[in-house]
Structures are given as C-alpha cells and as structure tokens.
Amino acid sequence: MKSLTVYFDGGCAFCQRCKRWLGAQPSFVAMHFIDARSAAARERTGLKPAALLQHLTVQDDTGSVWSGPDAFLVVLFALKSYRELAIELSDPSWRWLRTRLFTWVSKNRQRIGFWVGTPCHGSMCAPVNAYR
C-alpha cells in the first residue's frame, strides 16, 4: 500500500474536522481525501451513494476497497501513531466491540458533531437517510 484514499462525508462538519485531523497526522502512506458525495467517489469505488454515505469507505492505490468498521481499522493502520492500535484491534477478540463502536460512530456522526462542537450548518445538516 503506497497511498490511501478516504471517502469522507463532505456533508458532515465532524467528518471534515476528522479529515483535517487525519491529514495532519504523520502516516506511513500518502493520504488522499475525496468527498463521498462526489461523482469521483462513485466512479472510483463503483459503490452507490447510499453505500458510500452509510459506511466509511477507503481505497488503496491498487484499488482495494474497505468499507464499514474495517475501513476505520485501515485508516488507523495507515497512521504512524496508531498502527499498533489498529493491529491490536484487528484481533478477533476485539471484533464485537470494534464493529459496534465504529458502526455507532458512522451512524451518529451528526450527533457527535453537536457534542464535540462541530455542529452542521445549512445544507450540511442533510440527514444521512436522505441519501439512501
């Protein structure tokens, strides 16, 4: 893996903040970011908009795609400070917890945004369900 493309939800202020944080982290591979609501995201992954917005999706330079909780793991794996954590969390004994945790984060990203001080505004408040 030489580079990693993260398809983040551009309609979610919390996701944009996470994206900025990700971009500032030292990483093992080059990190690229594409709005999951864009046509480019659909073309590159071949996924429908609903799938792209329901789960976090990442793609490496060879075209391999991860979606859902595993995508969070791959993102952590790409970061220098979090690779160890990602390897630990990939153990089957963490499966139950990581699946629920990452699914919960994806599902409640707008609400988390309110809690951590990055509420949506204007057109960004579009509910995730509207894109299914």
Partner: protein, 128 residues
C-alpha cells in the same frame, strides 16, 4: 553487625550482576534484530539499559539494608534479613520484566512499517 551488612550488600550485588548479565546477553539478541545494519547501536542501547538497571537495583539494595539487629534474637534477625533480601529480589524481578517489556516494545515498533494489513480488502475497484 557490620558483617551482616557486608554479607547483605555482597549478596545483593551478586544477584544484581547475575540478572544484569542475563538481561544484557539475551537482550543483545533482541536488539540486533531491531537494528539490523547497526550492531554498535544495538550494543549502545543495551549498555544504557544495563546501566540504568544497575543503578536502580543497587540503589534499592542500599536503602533496604536490614535495620534492626537484636543480640539474642536469631529468628528476628533472620526475618529482617529475609525481608530486606526479599524486597531486593522483588525489585529485581519487576525491573527484569520491565526491561523485557521495553525490549519487546522497541522490537515491535521497529517492525511496524512492514506490518501486513490487519484486514483483507472487501473488493477491488480497478487501480487508480
């Protein structure tokens, strides 16, 4: 009483040196694996760790000298001695495992850049 102290201190130094030798000899193998092309680097790190190990353990030995010596209390004297020496051995054991932890951590970190992917890809969508 001075004989007791001398015996205690020499016993402490003996076990500290023995454990330090075990650590440095076996730790060297681990560290050479971490710094493949740089044996002098591995040796230097090993020496630094052993120096810290000596200082902490000898320091602990010296502050845990048995304090009370009773003229006719053989059992009490023995108990005091055993208590102090037990403390020293426990400290050595804790330090030994901490060192092992440090070695294994350094080793794991060094291998991180070549770590295999934690999860297989879900599907391929053509190279970009």
């Amino acid at each position: 009483m001075i004989m007791l102290y001398l015996a205690f201190v020499s016993a402490c130094i003996l076990v500290t040196v023995l454990v330090a030798r075990v650590l440095s000899q076996n730790g060297a193998v681990l560290l050479e694996d971490v710094f493949p092309g740089k044996p002098e680097m591995a040796r230097a790190i090993n020496q630094l760790l052993v120096a810290g190990f000596y200082m902490i353990n000898l320091g602990f030995c010296f502050i845990s000298l048995p304090g009370i010596w009773e003229a006719n209390g053989l059992a009490i004297n023995f108990r005091n001695l055993a208590n102090s020496f037990g403390g020293v051995l426990l400290a050595l054991g804790v330090m030994h495992f901490l060192n092992l932890l440090v070695f294994s951590r350094i080793r794991r970190r060094a291998h991180l850049p070549n770590a295999p992917l934690p999860v297989p890809p879900h599907f391929h969508a053509g190279a970009r």
